[in-house]
Symmetry: C2
Subunit: 392 residues, 2 copies
Amino acid sequence: MINEKIAQAISILNEKQIDAWLIFVRESHSLHDPSLELILGAHCTWQSAFFISANGETIAIVGNLDAAAIRDAGAFKTVIPYTTSIRDELLATFRKIDPKTIAINYSTNNYMADGLTHGMYMVLCDLLQGTDYPNRFISSEAIVSAIRGRKSPAELSHMKTAIRYTQAIFDQVTDYVRVGMTEQEIANFMKGEVEKRGLEVAWDPETCPSVFTGPDTAGAHYGPTSRKTAAGHIMNIDFGVKYNGYCSDMQRTWYFKRSNEKSVPEAVLKAFNTVRDAIEKAAGFLKPGVQGHEVDNVARQYIIDQGFAEYPHGLGHQIGRAAHDGAGTLCPVWERYGNLPFLNVEQGQVYTLEPRVTCEGYGVATIEEEVVVTKDGCEFLSDPQRELYIIE
Amino acid sequence: MINEKIAQAISILNEKQIDAWLIFVRESHSLHDPSLELILGAHCTWQSAFFISANGETIAIVGNLDAAAIRDAGAFKTVIPYTTSIRDELLATFRKIDPKTIAINYSTNNYMADGLTHGMYMVLCDLLQGTDYPNRFISSEAIVSAIRGRKSPAELSHMKTAIRYTQAIFDQVTDYVRVGMTEQEIANFMKGEVEKRGLEVAWDPETCPSVFTGPDTAGAHYGPTSRKTAAGHIMNIDFGVKYNGYCSDMQRTWYFKRSNEKSVPEAVLKAFNTVRDAIEKAAGFLKPGVQGHEVDNVARQYIIDQGFAEYPHGLGHQIGRAAHDGAGTLCPVWERYGNLPFLNVEQGQVYTLEPRVTCEGYGVATIEEEVVVTKDGCEFLSDPQRELYIIE
């Protein structure tokens, strides 16, 4: 997989006419540039420079203690160890490649492309003092976004498997849950099922799965509590697993029917159906070349038109090795998102679609599906939830 | 523990006459500023600002979805959620605190104090454009170094427990190993013992434990291989565990006696004893007020005087919540260490002491002990290895 990603990086450098990509890092156990797992597959302790050039060179300059492991990881053809300072080898490598433009590992917009710390940026500029190279720096966000975004068939296959496991565990939840169980009980049951299958959860186990029941929950990004499910509650769960290094991220919604209810209350049905249909409409619009904010707006406007408040977040994010995989996002034009809403959707990207609607007095209806962008549209990777799950 | 650390931070701000400390981060699941686990104990997704002021204010400005979890974590008294942009609340908070100096989370020297990415630094400067605040920025490395370095009694107690577990497992290795076992077999045995005790290893399981046997090993920072122990081999192991969030990091050395050897070869003994005595001499010198490079030099010069090559790394590093805990280091004046060798040793810091000597034809002799700096010297937290462990 790593050699595949390095080949992809070289081809993207040529496509974008960038001479070289430099990842400059240290102590990767403490602060890990997410690109390292794509192109290195090892750790480094001292200041380390990883160059990939448009003409196919791969050069690593690393501390002497790290050199053997990085050499044997096999991703970089040239591994240069140093002991007291990286300066001489770094300068020699810059002079050898002599890049007119060099992409380095920072980004104001894409957090997955922003592994260069400010301290290390200062160190890098200091090491190159007196040369013209700092003037040739550009952000490597376009490279990282393309490498993470464009999924290979092998990557898609892992992601589909992760989704199948996720759906199987959601189905078990439907059989398992009863009125009076706590959110924690339900989350623990799901974690047990993850463990039985030898998998791990897709993000922090404190909030994966997240279980929310009833009208008084935190709403999102909150761990399961001792709150009990009750008749008349909407329950939603946010959950994903990691399979062979690739994540799923999905949400499903249940309703606990009251004993005197013949059918699900109209308000609950309307909330659920609005979320479901907003996803359907956004998926119908999603295709290469459109911008993220346009896709978000399709779902957002539909929800507003049905008389609900708009969701206080984006419609969806990319997913891959990380549940939140960075780069182009289906989100509104809010300052906090930087340029992410303006990036063009590309074939091979995988997005979540996850609008939400609050149903006063009952809880929050959410569905999160995953879609892959095709040549002229998108395909669902998950089996979309078409009907509310009802617990009698 | 988090409230203790926040109180410590406020007292350090006053001691160092800094008006406020700002940690500016986003998507902490992908790139986690190590300070967050000290002062927050939760994750954040969108751009987030955590202020601690010298007069005791604690203010968090976070994305709306993260606000409930961060409020309930209880560390920050004021939690301000935002939806579309952090700008207005950030500016209002800067104006309210109006710091003359504000320490922000970057450092050229201390990697544990360098969680601000360069992209986020640019975002921060952009958000504060037109104000004087960026001119008041200083690095928060002095704050982070003091908070991580000065251990409380509770922290020391956890670290001692981690050391006791580590030593117990080393003792089991001495009983377990036989000629002909692979490095991987020995490492797996140790991992099993870690798991039995409900602990986790102190760093990346790929290289914790590291097991090196014989004269042809990678030397350091390399995972256990299928290489087999043999009579006439020196074996060394680098290993640590995490207990209640606190790490140990220790090394021990064994010798596999040949059947025709009455005693351990002189060369092997000399190598081991040189490492042992170098540690003893450095510990005798270590006390508050000395600088790291002076301590390193005591051990380094002793080893050179015994006719061995100097070790290609520092004598020791601080340890705490991370095995490599950053800040003042017992290391030579090499450019790659920045200012770390020049920092004064302080009471309450815990250092490793880990020189190494290569014994030609046999392997590498290493010992790694842990010491805590006292009022006028230091005390061993580990029971030092005084004698080479011999496998008959």
